[in-house]
Symmetry: C2
Subunit: 388 residues, 2 copies
């Protein structure tokens, strides 16, 4: 643990089939005005919308609603939420949905009382949160981002064509409570489930691929990857396997609540690439990550061979006997590639709405940070072309 | 994750060589009256006592002191602390030391404003904390118990000859902040270092040995065990290896801050046995745990063969080819036994102040809870005799 750190995480998690029974006790901790934020129609067809409204009514809440949050939540939706918060003197933002809905809610919570333009304030100038941040609670219906237990928020600015993450202060912006019932994820369509699975896996790899110390966090990240692989294989065979879905759900939360990242050098270039692919093509986040991962890791592995060899041995159980680190690293990335196929995830940007003409502009717009190797713009373009 | 759970952990951790630089910012969050709780002379000889007093003075604090906390903290010391808290209207209890000092501080924090006898209130009747619980902060100098990031407190009632744990509510009793500088553990004598290492390992095993589902927590517990084994082997060779000591320190905190235990059936019988051994012989906690572990696990393994076989494969990397679960389980426990020897830990109760005559009385006083198998009093006595 050679890198000093400060860690805190204030979110109270209620997990399991009975998790919703804690909603009323949580709601009672806040004032009467609630902004209910959600996505498209899925919580209405599943009946969850009615359940939540009934609980809110029972606790005497006045409810304003912000429906229709996109899977890549838009800055215009954040601004609309800010307007509602101020207009209704909102005491609690209740996010019901997946990471997009919770990300959008956190952005609203921190932005509502910012003077001036919140995009400039946070995303461009990284300035502090205002005195008044509205508390957020969440009911999770789709797993992947871990937004339910962290303070990150990824928003797409349509005008600027930028999809960008911002990490707000954990103590004020992470949800105060999150309700995680794995059964709520049963109705998520298969392609969204596997997109979520790869998003989780990518979070774990992007925290893992950095540094070369023998860190507690490295072992825990390997553990979470192994748990996820085992559960994902069961879930794609039987999406209603509670044990598998519950393990995926918790592997996701642990995968980015930051406790497995402490003391770690990290990578996060794959997320940088996908954010801009998403900004141009609006493809599902996890699918975009999967498409660009294999060419990205093939590019950087030679610069971090020791770690990539460990990954092959410990995550994919590749027998190292008589193999060089370079061979092992290659076999590890091939195992990753097979896993993506096993999940039934598309492999080409051409399948998710990208055109070949977009690629140079996307490549030029991508932050280049990396870990073992900072890719050049030319290398990024090559990754996109190989992914096409 | 078949067992529903609620999880929260409010402790802010400052970790690393620079961790003490956060002390002043933490102290400023509290009122002027601080109770400084510590053990014997070690923080005075190391100079930490002077550093802490200087920081307290700089922040304008009035300081009362409760020194001399035993390695098995005594109920009489808790009561003395309660008296000091009330007399000086204490705003913050600052625990400087190992788990004993922090455990004692949490017990004081929760007990100071209890009406009547706190032992009866908490340990016997498990009643709620009073309105006023004093906040605790900690500076850790010895690693093992994870008391720095949980709400548990183990106290020895000398009159009743009972050493017993109590888990206070996380939200109010866990330290508000904990400062973890691995260098502070360099001066811990070797026998205390290895005692701490086995305490950590025992926490991990006692959370792991329960249930037979393929749980995220199981994989993470295996990861933490692997990290600890690797770091412990380096630390016994070179106790000043910062990377090894820092990994031990963080493996310990992760090992019992409860996040690796969610959704898990657990065991904890080894701690039950050791608590009573400790109440009678006052032996170092981790040493007592190591002494009774091997005979205990030999007894219960046949009732949880599948899990013990997994333990052998995943924690001790025992090749399963051609072996039955029973053989694997046995080899796993032998590997544990070799690890105890490798750490240089005594193997017999006779070496830590127990007499053969004590054993029946100790056996009769032990809570029998178990997991795969609840041992009879006769079986507990047999474990103690085998450990003698």
């Amino acid at each position: 643990m050679n890198i000093d750190f400060t860690f805190e995480n204030p979110t109270r998690i209620h997990f399991g089939r009975s998790a919703m029974s804690h909603l009323a006790e949580e709601l009672r901790l806040y004032g009467p005005n609630v902004l209910l934020v959600y996505g498209k129609n899925s919580i209405k067809t599943s009946g969850l919308y009615d359940t939540v409204l009934a609980a809110l009514a029972e606790c005497g809440k006045q409810v304003a609603e912000l429906p229709g949050i996109n899977s890549n939540p838009r800055y215009s939706q954040v601004l609309e939420g800010c307007r509602l918060v101020r207009e209704h003197s909102i005491d609690l933002i209740l996010a019901v949905g997946g990471g997009s809905v919770i990300d959008c809610s956190k952005a609203i919570a921190c932005s509502a009382y910012v003077e001036g333009d919140p995009w400039q304030h946070f995303w461009e100038q990284n300035r502090p949160v205002p005195q008044h941040v509205v508390p957020v609670g969440s009911i999770l219906t789709m797993t992947g981002t871990a937004s339910e237990m962290n303070s990150g928020s990824v928003i797409t600015n349509e005008e600027l064509k930028i999809k960008a993450g911002h990490i707000f202060p954990m103590a004020v912006a992470a949800p105060r409570f999150s309700i995680l019932n794995p059964e709520f994820t049963f109705s998520v369509p298969r392609h969204q489930m596997v997109s979520g699975i790869f998003d989780i896996f990518s979070h774990l790899m992007e925290q893992y691929f950095g540094g070369d110390d023998d860190n507690v966090s490295d072992y825990l990240l390997e553990g979470d990857m192994l748990a996820l692989i085992s559960a994902a294989r069961k879930a794609v065979k039987n999406p209603h396997d509670y044990e598998a879905r519950s393990n995926i759900m918790w592997a996701a939360t642990m995968g980015l609540n930051k406790i497995l990242a402490v003391g770690k050098q990290q990578d996060w270039e794959v997320h940088q690439i996908e954010h801009q692919v998403g900004a141009y093509c609006d493809c599902p986040h996890g699918i975009g990550l999967a498409i660009v991962s294999v060419p990205y890791y093939r590019l950087v592995a030679p610069y971090g061979l020791h770690r990539f060899a460990r990954y092959a041995r410990n995550v994919w159980h590749i027998d190292p006997t008589g193999k060089s680190d370079s061979q092992l690293a290659q076999e590890g990335i091939e195992a990753l590639s097979s896993f993506i196929d096993e999940m039934g995830i598309p492999r080409h940007l051409s399948e998710v709405g990208c055109t070949r003409e977009m690629l140079p502009e996307i490549a030029a717009s991508i932050n280049r940070i990396g870990s073992y190797h900072v890719p050049s713009e030319q290398e990024i373009l090559q990754i996109l072309q190989e992914s096409f």
